[in-house]
């Protein structure tokens, strides 16, 4: 089983787009769950959506959570506090750039790497080449 990924975004479309882009690189091997937008579909975050995504992603290998903006961290932390400690310690919040980190995390997770390795791969999103040498 592979490490799962959760995408928390203020925009539902953004979250789904990141999941489809990253999912292309990991095929069906990695669960990528999304929590995008508020419950009524406007721009913002939803603790219920975050909780549901964490549940969907839950697995023995762990889950990496990527977020769009800092203000998504608070709602995610509240969702984590509601989990039981066993579950919570299998979850890491990443500060990696959302899109780039999610793609690299999906690649790494699909190779069967550990949560720590997947988190490090996501952080390489900062150096993802996008220019003179793509």
């Amino acid at each position: 089983m592979a490490v799962s990924i959760v995408i928390v975004s203020h925009s539902a479309r953004l979250a789904e787009g990141v999941a489809e882009l990253a999912g292309q690189m990991s095929m069906d091997e990695v669960t990528i769950a999304v929590a995008g937008g508020t419950d009524d579909g406007s721009i913002g975050t939803s603790i219920d959506k975050v909780t549901a995504a964490l549940q969907k992603a839950s697995n023995p290998e762990g889950t990496l959570v990527l977020l769009d903006l800092g203000s998504a961290v608070m709602v995610t932390e509240m969702a984590l506090e509601m989990l039981d400690p066993d579950e919570r310690q299998r979850i890491l919040l990443s500060s990696a750039p959302l899109v780039e980190g999610a793609v690299l995390a999906a690649v790494e997770a699909s190779a069967g790497s550990t949560l720590q390795e997947v988190a490090e791969a996501a952080n390489n999103g900062h150096e993802m080449p996008k220019g003179r040498w793509s």
């Binding site: 721009i43 975050t45 509240m78």
Partner: protein, 210 residues
């Protein structure tokens, strides 16, 4: 005269109304240094609160406030959701089982709320957030309590200090939340969260005074 659970209910109703009336104003403040949603966030959150507590006339203050907290966390949809949510949850924990609050209990309740906001937002005074209304209010409450002033007076002083604190956010540089993305350009604008905090504290003072 202590604050009763009826007063708290009325406070929440008044807050809902005041935040609804100030929806456009708060959103306008947020449009200058944020994403133009603080008014609708608060309006949505408190509308949900009012529905949630409608049948809770007999509930103790702690239960009421905890319900407010969980409802705000679930419905606000912005950074202010977890922040006010945590504030009300902690306030509810500090007042668990109580049917009325004396001055010291009110101050302890706000102390718990402020600690909750600080912990949730990893912020402190002077970062141009709601804390810059709440912290001066708490200080004023503590001072008023030392002076043993009546509860109505204590709450008036808290609201007054929240208002001054709110106004002082205009000159502050934002270092937390979305407004921090503006860097130096955040200076010169009043913080929306500090403004809603003042409105809520003023609503409490007005409720108890009347």
């Amino acid at each position: 005269m202590p604050v009763t659970n009826k007063d708290i209910l009325h406070w929440l109703q008044r807050s809902t109304q005041v935040l609804h009336e100030n929806n456009a104003f708060l959103t306008q403040l947020d449009s200058a240094i944020g994403d133009a949603d603080h008014g609708s966030n608060m309006d949505r959150g408190f509308s949900a609160v009012i529905t949630k507590i409608s049948g809770m006339q007999e509930a103790d203050i702690g239960t009421l406030l905890k319900t407010v907290g969980t409802t705000l966390v679930s419905t606000v949809g912005g950074a202010s959701g977890p922040l006010y949510g945590t504030a009300f949850l902690r306030a509810g924990m500090a007042t668990a089982g109580k049917q009325h609050l004396e001055g010291a209990e009110i101050v302890a309740m706000f102390e718990a709320a402020v600690e909750g906001i600080k912990a949730r937002g990893k912020a402190q005074a002077g970062e141009k957030t709601m804390l810059d209304a709440f912290i001066p209010a708490l200080e004023a409450g503590k001072q008023a309590q030392l002076e043993q002033v009546p509860v109505t007076e204590l709450l008036q002083r808290m609201a007054g200090s929240a208002e001054s604190g709110m106004k002082a956010t205009i000159d502050l540089l934002a270092t937390k939340g979305r407004a921090s993305y503006l860097g130096e350009r955040s200076i010169g604008h009043q913080d929306p969260g500090a403004t809603s905090s003042w409105l809520i504290l003023q609503a409490l003072a007005d409720t108890v005074a009347s």
